[in-house]
Symmetry: C2
Subunit: 347 residues, 2 copies
């Protein structure tokens, strides 16, 4: 029951282990007939290279790390799935590491993974991808990383992002197009860089349309359902509430939706609600929530692609490693034409 080794294959094929190694790794300088012969034995014996031995001698581990702040979230699950699939295609493996940057010993934990596992690269997700301390640490460990939706125009690494700002602008324009003039906005957790971007997109569209905000129209949540619930109550409690509310993610949108329901405010008849993310909850809600679809799986897959690219380490900041992916506005039932004569449009 000893696993088949490279040596076994070599013996059987009548060549040296090194030649088998060359075939396995698709290196040049092997005569085609030798290559074929070796390949046949490999298939016959169903040989699989031992990743440990390999990495021990080559200093590549064929392991990528996915560092997650909140591994339980749907966002994390989607990213993970995308990364997982792409890793498999490229015969890499993925090690998922939860990382709480507010914990006292976070650095130690991460160093463990890096040194013990000799990761070939890491995928950094928001909000931890914005921690300078973390980036410094990774740099000092010599670990290549790609960030997903990092803050600002940071140029420290390859990155994958989506134009959150214009997505939010588009959604806002969509609401304005439906006749809404008095639109409320719920910001996300300020620790996430996308929170600001989405808010900017919102104000872009409002400004462009010549619409003004009143105090209380913009509130700050933390991306949680609970915060949506709370803010929903605050905003919808009075009489002159907006005819549409745009929440920075679906969970908060759902909170607003449910609050509206509870208060007997019909959606979308008296209130339109829009979200962001296309989380599963946005489809499970009633009415289904109009939202922005983020290609989360693709983003993670793209990060894998970059990390396994041999030329990435040499020039991590090349434009080729900064990718912008498309979003999509998903128009569902939680938004509709404005049927109210909001006082705001006359003022």
């Amino acid at each position: 029951m000893r696993p088949v080794t490279l040596k076994d294959v070599a013996l059987r094929a009548g060549v040296s282990p090194k030649t088998v190694s060359r075939v396995i790794n698709g290196e040049l300088h092997v005569r085609p007939e030798v290559r074929a012969a070796v390949q046949r034995i490999v298939d016959e014996l169903d040989y699989r290279p031992n990743a440990f031995a390999r990495s021990l001698s080559s200093s590549r581990s064929y392991l990528l790390g996915l560092f997650l702040d909140d591994p339980g979230s749907g966002y994390a699950a989607d990213l993970q799935l995308g990364a997982l699939m792409r890793c498999r295609e490229r015969s890499y493996h993925l090690v998922v590491e939860p990382l709480d940057i507010t914990a006292p010993n976070w650095a130690g934990q991460i160093i463990d993974s890096i040194r013990a596992l000799r990761l070939d690269g890491a995928i950094l997700t928001p909000p931890i991808c914005d921690s300078e301390a973390l980036l410094d640490l990774l740099d000092s460990e010599g670990l290549a990383y790609v960030r997903i939706s990092p803050r600002g125009d940071a140029t420290r690494s390859g990155l994958i992002e989506m134009d959150d700002r214009s997505a939010a602008r588009e959604m806002t324009e969509h609401l304005i197009g439906l006749g809404h003039r008095h639109i409320g906005f719920i910001k996300g957790d300020p620790a996430h860089s996308v929170s600001l971007k989405r808010f900017e997109g919102f104000t872009d569209a409002m400004t462009a349309a010549g619409l003004t905000l009143r105090p209380g129209d913009v509130r700050e949540g933390d991306f949680s359902f609970r915060s949506g619930l709370r803010i929903g109550e605050e905003m919808l409690g009075g009489t002159a509430f907006p005819s549409a509310i745009f929440a920075s993610n679906d969970d908060m949108a759902l909170g607003v939706l449910i609050t509206a329901m509870r208060l007997g405010i019909g959606v979308p008849d008296r209130l339109s609600v829009a979200g962001f993310d296309d989380a599963p909850t946005s489809r499970a809600a009633w009415p289904q929530i109009t939202t922005i679809r983020q290609p989360k799986g693709e983003m993670a897959a793209g990060a894998v692609d970059i990390l396994v690219d041999p030329s990435y380490r040499a020039s991590p900041t090349s434009a080729h490693f900064r990718r912008l992916l498309d979003y999509e506005l998903v128009d569902r039932l939680s938004t509709g034409p404005n049927t109210r004569d909001g006082s705001s449009q006359r003022s």
Copy 2:
């Protein structure tokens, strides 16, 4: 920038590499003062053993595999988190492998992970933990595994389970206790062993209370929100619908809830809805769904504990490695007293 090796520590501490190895692994037969001295150097140099070298020479990999049928589900995410945390405590690492048993080449994929990574053990989740073919494969590869909520009283391995049957019975009794006499049930995906168990628990309680089921009171879903929606329509479409519906999981319960809402059937006034799982959606819904909390994280953590136990390989079927965890009925707002005089109770 070469990483610190065991040899470096040995040199610095003035002992042999082997002695350092002993200290690192907490082996006996090291004089306390030597142990302390070595430990000091280890800390000073912040030395981390190279997992690859270690596993290459010892045939332990310190790697556990989590095999997931549906990596995107909330259930999977919860398990993963639990496993992840426990792995970290035990200084193991977790490799997550999505595994589609219906795909043509599933076996090849899994063999890759096992042989290449030399996993020390695997955690098998439903429904793949019930695949005889998979178990045979793992056995033949000599890989230890623990199953979570496997079908029947299978004795092939250690396992972690919850008493789904009595949990479902308890929930049903809860509904009966609220005065419901006409109760509908939505089964889960028959590929999952828990589907049957939950149904049995339901009929246990119904039978014990002397309640009979009419045709159409029991329907089969597939655990998806969509199937809950569909079945909700089927059940609530007529006039003589049940006063309570117990769905085998929260997603389906949510489907029923939303259908009821759409049809103008007040919950819990005219209809009580109960779920199972305590999924995030059950809390995000309005009204929040009464459900059964499964200790998913603990289950996965327990599986890790078993796998890292050195004595597990010797006697995997010992009773000590068959663990039953507790559930909890979470009474929320989607269930309430029966206020209708259902015709069923007079017949």
